[in-house]
């Protein structure tokens, strides 16, 4: 093994194992900052030793044991004589490299779960949760996180330092919340993961090669969460939603980067493996027998599209019903607008239009170009071309995206030519 390959191999192992090691150490020392430092120490030792000794059979266990030894050394040096330390230094298993593969498997999962509840703690700002989760659970460097979010590296570094301090000062417990607390806290965890996913999925700007990494990282975290918290339907709902949306990655833009609408996508090119995984995750959510939350509902809507062979063969009645359910658990004008589209597809444009007109009074949608865009579309279908033209023109004034503006103006012009022709 050459020096550079061994360095790369060690880095890889680090990436695969670091979150588990940090989680295990946090349980021991009750401080994620210290836990991360200790884990890093173990990495430094590995980088020194492994090129000579070769990589151990169970590198994760080796790193964990080494880090734990460092923890005990450090606590002894600092002469912290609390009971916990004495207990730790007495328990001999910490000094033995555990070679068995499945040692404390459940425990590792629990620690990971505790860690993600900590990095997604509501006491932290949304940005801090994201940065800390990527750092500690994703094993991403501050530099990589900065790249992915197009911000300066020191900003991210500072964000992480502050987040750790906040957690320490608030004496946040390293534990999985229970009862009512669990539901609320889980929402925050799922939100962080879905935000990551969308950040990567939407890729608002530029050429950042790390954007897809965010999507994959979110999907990976979701899949892990589904393994360590299998009894939570919304976890499976979120995984289902991400798997199903990911299944359309390749078909949603042209090679020149122009967006392709769902109805125009080549469904044969959807990733059917991911669709299958998404549907299976949704089934798991369902089998838990509790009412669907927002992620499971969104996933169910997405699933309706996934199993349909075309727009025409889509079960729009079901989608309309699902949007109605979604608007109850997640009341939002945007959800309502989507419901209007589904209702129009299911029962006819006039019914959709009624919902759209009601939404025009909604203050939060005043500058939302998709509202007049949908309205124009429905009016056009109803043959009310002049009103449709006005709606498209209005929509064009609300979007700053040039491609979209052109598309809307083109549609306005089409309405014009039809109405002048007097065909209606």
């Amino acid at each position: 093994m050459t020096e550079s390959t061994s360095r790369r191999t060690i880095d890889t192992i680090w990436r695969m194992e670091s979150s588990k090691i940090i989680a295990g150490l946090t349980r021991m020392v009750r401080d994620i900052d210290l836990a991360e430092d200790l884990a890093q120490d173990a990495l430094v030792i590995a980088l020194r030793k492994w090129p000579e000794t070769g990589i151990p059979d169970n590198p994760g266990a080796w790193l964990m044991a080494t880090a734990k030894r460092r923890a005990i050394d450090m606590m002894r040096r600092n002469k912290i004589h609390d009971k916990k330390v004495e207990e730790l230094s007495r328990s001999s298993d910490l000094f033995v490299v555990d070679e068995s593969n499945d040692a404390g498997d459940g425990e590792i999962g629990d620690d990971l779960l505790r860690l993600i509840f900590m990095t997604c703690h509501p006491i932290l700002s949304r940005e801090a949760r994201i940065a800390l989760t990527l750092r500690l659970l994703g094993g991403l460097s501050t530099d990589e996180i900065a790249h992915a979010f197009l911000v300066a590296e020191p900003t991210i570094a500072q964000r992480i330092v502050r987040a750790k301090r906040t957690l320490r000062e608030a004496h946040v417990e390293f534990e999985v919340p229970t009862g009512n607390d669990l539901k609320k806290r889980l929402e925050t965890v799922l939100e962080v993961i879905y935000l990551l996913f969308n950040e990567g999925y939407a890729a608002t700007s530029g050429t950042s090669w790390l954007r897809p990494v965010l999507c994959q990282e979110a999907l990976r975290l979701g899949r892990i969460l589904a393994e360590v918290a299998p009894a939570e339907p919304e976890v499976h709902g979120l995984v289902a939603l991400m798997e199903l949306q990911s299944s359309r990655f390749k078909t949603r833009v042209t090679s020149s980067g122009k967006p392709i609408l769902l109805k125009d996508q080549n469904r044969a090119q959807w990733d059917h493996l991911l669709i299958r995984r998404g549907l299976a995750a949704l089934e798991r959510a369902q089998s838990l027998g509790r009412p669907f939350g927002p992620y499971s509902l969104q996933a169910s809507i997405s699933a309706c599209h996934s199993v349909a062979r075309s727009t025409e063969e889509t079960n729009w009645v079901k989608i309309a019903a699902l949007y109605e359910a979604l608007s109850r658990v997640l009341p939002s004008p945007v959800v309502e607008l989507n419901r209007a589209v589904a209702v129009a597809m299911a029962f006819g444009p006039e019914f959709g239009l009624q919902l759209v007109e009601r939404l025009e009074e909604e203050a939060s949608l005043k500058n939302y170009h998709l509202l007049p865009c949908v309205k124009g579309d429905l009016l056009e279908k109803l043959g009310r071309n002049e009103e449709a033209r006005d709606a498209f023109r209005f929509a064009a004034t609300l979007t700053r995206n040039e491609q979209e503006q052109q598309l809307l103006l083109r549609r306005a012009a089409e309405c014009e030519s039809t109405s002048e022709g007097g065909s209606v």
Binding site: R8, T9, D11, T12, R15, M16, N101, D102, D105, I108, G109, P122, R126, K184, E187, T188, E191, Y194, L195, N198, Y201, A202, A203, T204, S205, R211, P212, V213, C215, Q216, L219, R220, G222, R223, I224, E227, V228, F249, K250, R252, V253, S255, G257, P259, L261, L273, R277, P294, L330, S332, V334, V335, N338, Y368, H369, L370, T399, N401, Q403, E404
Partner: protein, 144 residues
Amino acid sequence: MRFMMIVKATKDSEAGLPPNPELFEAMMRYNEELAKAGVLIAADGLQPSSGAIRISYPDPGGKPTIIDGPFSEAKELIAGYTLIEVRSREEAIEWAMRMPDPHGFGEGQIELRQVYEGPELTDNPDLIADHAALMAELQKRTQS
């Protein structure tokens, strides 16, 4: 990135013999480890080639020739595969190295191949606006 770990066939797998209990358990444990790391996408075992057919096109543009199994050259046959999604080639190699020796008796062979994938970026303004609005809403609810 996706990689496929292809497990090659052996005399036993071609005879339709199940793996011994220790190996079976090691495989289960390994798959569980893959799942818990969030990297497992799919894994399947294939039935012996005695039930297979082989379609070949010896003449360009001509009709295919169909041959019934079993096929003799076990090492060139596949007994199963595991599809993983990982962050780097090195990670795929690391996982492949951790897979238990699939058959023992000196016949075990695993092949690691990368899967072709298309570009994954978009700047779809609809999706961005949709998700941003939905997320803002979700955020509001989480805070309230």
